[in-house]
């Protein structure tokens, strides 16, 4: 049932042994993923999953801190603008807090959150690898526990 999760997790641990350290995995930095070396390593890690993971390179938000929620500070975004400039973007979904945050981010970023998404270096395969490892090691349990008290 969890064959692909196992496969991803094993490959992740082999490709990124530094993330065997829980503290490192809990607190990612944008730079270590977006640096030229980081991009190269992640590309090599992701390519074998091209035919396995659906939407393996689909842009995805990744939380930098495992204990934090998806917000402007904790989600990994690209920071440059495309030459297409800025324009209005109604980011709408089911009305949850992330949509509201996306709207705020759109305003605070000066207009267009699209351009930031488009340069986001978080891919679906990265998301799976990081979050599967966090879940299995219990690093996301604090988020769950905090929401049980609330």
């Amino acid at each position: 049932m969890a064959r692909w999760d196992d496969l991803l997790n094993d490959a992740f641990e082999k490709a990124f042994p530094e993330y065997l350290d829980d503290a490192r995995l809990s607190n990612l930095t944008e730079n270590e993923i977006k640096s030229a070396e980081g991009k190269r390593r992640w590309r090599e890690f992701m390519m074998p999953f091209e035919k396995i993971v659906h939407d393996y390179n689909f842009g995805t938000l990744i939380r930098l801190n495992a204990e934090g929620e998806y917000d402007e500070q904790n989600a990994m975004f690209g920071t440059s603008n495309t030459p297409l400039g800025r324009g209005p973007l109604p980011v709408q979904s089911a009305g949850g807090h992330i949509s509201r945050w996306a709207h705020q981010a759109q305003v605070s970023l000066g207009g267009n959150i699209l351009t930031h998404f488009s340069l986001c270096s978080g891919y679906r395969t990265q998301f799976y690898a990081i979050e599967i490892a966090r879940n299995r090691r219990g690093l996301n349990d604090k988020v769950w526990a905090a929401n049980q008290k609330a």
Binding site: W4, D5, H54, L114, S118, N135, N140
Partner: protein, 81 residues
């Protein structure tokens, strides 16, 4: 070369360039919305179920059909300008 009365100030090349840019932005918006929605679904999951007890993450969602996104974006642009 003029296109039509509704675009009197634009030449064909300019009109096409505008169309492609709008199409590009519309497609990007679809992907951005999908990324936000995916994050929301995942957040709801890990706040409701203890993450260390989740058995799997992969293959639990419906895959968006990319050509359909492109087609719908194009229709939206043509209809709404």
């Amino acid at each position: 070369m003029r296109v039509s009365n509704s675009f009197p100030a634009l030449r064909m090349e300019e009109w096409l360039a505008h169309l492609f840019i709008r199409l590009y932005l519309a497609i990007e918006m679809q992907f951005a919305v999908a990324a936000v929605e995916q994050s929301e679904v995942y957040w709801n999951l890990i706040t409701k179920i203890q993450p260390s007890k989740l058995t799997r993450l992969t293959q639990s969602e419906q895959r968006p059909f990319v050509p359909a996104l492109v087609f719908l974006s194009l229709i939206g642009i043509l209809c709404c300008g």
